[in-house]
Assembly symmetry: D2
Homo-oligomer: 348 residues x 4
């Protein structure tokens, strides 16, 4: 299937370009960005910051403007990945969906809309069919589906295997990596040897998206999970990998071993379906000083979250540390895995 | 009063040396350290890392061994500050106390002993008279009194004005500075662009010391506060200033304004007594991205903690961020303030 | 004298605002910035990043646009400090000078013009009178005078006492702090745990400005020094303080002690004139691991450069390390010292 | 061939363990360290800091003491890699060589001895046969051969293709990574957001080893190259990758293109011999802000050095930036490549 990437020059766009190189199902056909970049070669338009080299051939591709007409002049994609900034993503994604394209969006704009799926493939793959209602309701040939915010994805992956124990409360303090703010993102004068105890709208996203992700799909809409969630989000001078200090109440009071076993045995539908990007989603480490962002964020090609330090909590019930690669698991890799899921389910 | 500093060559010792320069009541008379340093000039024995220059005259002083006989050969101090590492502090501090010296200890060894005060001068100054019982019980002319662990001091300073609202639960995730581990402390290969989610024994100290600090002194012993406390401690690549994400239950359910007012109006006995090192102990900042370690840790010469982002919490009741200078408020400055308190109370 | 600051909301502008607080001669009267900030209160227009608190009263001042008319509506300044970005500084500074104002510019635009002084007060104070020719030639009542680039100022301060030994060649590799790029400046994703071996136009500035600074003023123009200079400039993840590895040829072949003595005895005209901001301009440290940016950049309130590790060089003759506070000595403090010099000389 | 690693628990030892995993010629058989580690399992003795996971099976191996008897009790190795610290490496390496083992040493102790090879396989592979003289002279069945210091290896790799242009002078200022100091190495309190302008003995090593590496082997000894070299070494807060600002005189005055062509066409004997670890030794990048340590140090699995910013120099002739992975190219990978060279030449 041929892919167009909207917002291809940004950081998440670059990770998509890299991850799609040599992908067995998807091939990058059109790279689109803002009108400032349109018409230039990708090599000139993008300030390449991905650690790997730019895939060969990509640098010479002409960049399209992020609208249907411009994209169709340069190719005929089957699916659209959107990494557009949220100030313009909303309308552009609707334009593509109404023009018949399946749009896999990394932007926050549509995540909480009633007829738009918000999906972690291992957690709520059944929500994918919500796009059928969306198409019908909106009268579109195409559709929009979305990924969660990066700090939400890894948290919910760690929580989902605990739902069976009657998960009722979640408190989280995050220590988020610089790359979570995109590029150019946080000025080095602010971030250098410092912690910034605020990330705009991040706490709200964590609290609202989690409820939708863990919610029930009744065939027409998602009924949010009943769950109390409290988040404090901070930025630390780390390149990649959000670290989260998580405390939860589990009404069924499992033993620590039962919790670890729930994580260890969790696989999710992507592995069962044999999706190309599927990995073991969770690794638990027994060392008392892990997970660490710099050492652990690349686990499972950045798609495996790493947990550690599970112990009893005297106020809620259990606490642990949770780490995930915010750009891979939390954005680019997540989007590709979702597209693979849709293809495997025959939705694209 | 003449002062001897045990462990004078370490980081906290250097801060004591600097803070005592020009102090109106105390004068550094003897610098003691391990036998590896004893006999050398202080300039040669100490790898000076304090940001200010070494006070004049200090560099040429001969370093004593950290035992009573060696210290008395070089001076006749009135009080002892001990910044010894905990593997040797216990016995040495007892030796000095039994020899008649008042010992102000920064080490953890004696903090939780029943007849040893653990004091934050603004929080529990009345606990100071516990030393009378200690002297009687142990048959000593001198005594040992202690400071809390650095991450505890700032937390409890922020909690104490809330006790009036029936404080019942405290959850905290810390992001602690490199200097909290002393010198040489954390290897740069571990800390650089990373977060280490574990600090040995730190969570236990936070949980146990807080109960004693907020406890009641019944005339003979401290009855620990009844309080549930849960701590997760991490290390971040920041020079000075521990940042803490704190969530609390206050059974009296004050308004956010009442909480802020409680902090704003809090002064504590040191200011009332006019102690030389006393400052306004708490500053609350309204900006949504403060406190930040690099910008705020020097507030009030490092003796004022800085709070911010107070807001309602859906699980417990309130949450906020708390920052303090771990070496000044959390160790050297704290020790001097406590000694000033003891002097003002006629205990030394 | 009343001062207007153009570009007052940027990082150098903030340092000027802070350094002018309580200044015995100068008082901040007008704060001007771009039209995006004009009309707002300074507190709202500026993202305050200076480590000290905003001086009281400053936050409530209304920001003017950076043109003569807007500034004159809000005050009647005697002198102008310009910290404008170089893309607009050129024209605006000329507008103010032609309107009769003495303009002290931190921008690069006019530095190399034949009739514009480029001044380090300790090095070439006599060049100041070039403004008389400028006024005559351009038919202005006011004038423009300039500071060097930050990496140049500290280098030339270290070189000037060596000119007596027939300085003929200078090679320098710089390791420059993040704040040298202003705010927001370098993205943290680029700078974090990295070195960037390129700073746009910096090497050219170092090479050309040095020759003018060390040049001879023949009464009408500056005859550039005859000197070979080679610079390589890099950016390191340090907050403040440019470190420079310098190698020089001195044809008179002084001993190492003679070189140190030349630095130690150097005072410069500002100290002799008793200018308020004058300090001992150079400190040499004998420790083999100094100067270090974080430990030494605040020496002499940031106005003293710190040198170290002087030793023989087998290719040229001598090598040493040179450190200066790029925002204070290299920009804001330097500008104030120059204005003091002009006032002391009766040029304003 | 079976390999014993002396100093296997340290950082370079860990990289050797990792790089030897799956090696076609060499297999790790014995892990030796100090008597503090001897007898423990490797997993317990080593604080594992390599970014990849410990190879399976390695963790359960018992650690030997670093002496012949202890090593022979746990295996019968064919070759010895020594990553011992220099305070003990000298004698231990001699013990193994005199007992008949070929010793590939990363330590500085024997590097400059007349009958000991100091080898970069691409630069001076012919020096390897010096071991025949060594064996004869010392009456040993085994021998000692050495790698250069990490900052030297990458510098000399960049210089060697320029020797044809009559290289006469080299000036270098290094910005070296934290891992160059081993583990625990530099305290984070010193390195965090700072530059330390001194590395003990590093400048001397750079200056002396380079002359031996580029020297002529007359059949009996190495005649050092005639070359003037001046080095200034600093430490920057970067994980891996030494960056060097290099200036050279080339008497033949080649064009910039000829210099680049000399680098581009350089291959060296390892590639010609098809050694398993051989890669293209040099990559030149045309971007003006490369090489950067974090982005470029893994080039060619860490065995390729990356050069950039070649330009004319007004004092010597040419200048450029040079980057290499100090632990791979500068230590562990280098040692393996040298052992491969010895095997291919029939010297082991």
């Amino acid at each position: 299937m041929k892919v167009a990437i909207l917002g291809a020059t940004g950081m998440v766009g670059q990770y998509l370009v890299s991850l799609l190189q040599g992908h067995p199902w998807f091939e990058t056909e059109v790279l689109a960005a803002s009108d400032r970049s349109a018409g230039k070669k990708y090599r000139e338009a993008a300030h390449w910051i991905h650690p790997s080299q730019m895939p060969s051939g990509i640098g010479e591709m002409e960049v399209a403007n992020s609208d249907v007409k411009s994209v169709e002049e340069l190719g005929s994609p089957d699916i659209i990945f959107s990494c557009l900034p949220s100030d313009i993503a909303g309308g552009v994604e609707e334009e593509f969906a109404s023009a018949g394209y399946p749009v896999f969006s990394k932007a926050a704009n549509h995540r909480l809309e009633e007829d738009v799926p918000l999906i972690i493939p291992e957690v709520n793959p059944s929500h994918a069919t919500l796009v059928d209602f969306q198409k019908e309701k909106r009268g579109w040939q195409g559709f929009i589906t979305t990924d969660p915010n990066c700090s939400t994805t890894q948290l919910v992956l760690s929580l989902f295997p605990l739902v069976q124990f009657d998960l009722s409360k979640v408190m989280v303090t995050t220590m988020q990596a610089l790359s979570g703010a995109g590029y150019p993102g946080v000025p080095s004068l602010d971030a250098n040897a410092n912690v910034i105890p605020f990330i705009s709208k991040e706490e709200e996203k964590l609290e609202s998206e989690t409820l939708k992700l863990l919610g029930e799909f009744d065939g027409e809409k998602i009924i949010p999970a009943e769950l109390k969630l409290s988040a404090t989000c901070t930025r630390v001078p780390v390149q990649h990998g959000h670290l989260e200090s998580v405390t939860v109440s589990l009404e069924a009071k499992p033993s620590l071993e039962e919790v670890k076993e729930a994580w260890a045995s969790f696989e999710g539908e992507p592995l069962k379906l044999g999706l190309p990007s599927a990995v073991k989603p969770i690794r638990y480490r027994e060392e008392n000083d892990r997970p660490q962002p710099r050492l652990d964020c690349d686990e499972g090609n950045g798609m495996t979250i790493v947990l550690g330090r599970l112990r009893m909590d005297p106020i809620l019930d259990y606490k642990y540390l949770c780490l995930g690669h915010n750009v891979v698991r939390g954005a680019a890799g997540e989007g590709i895995l979702q597209a693979e899921l849709f293809k495997a389910k025959g939705l694209i």
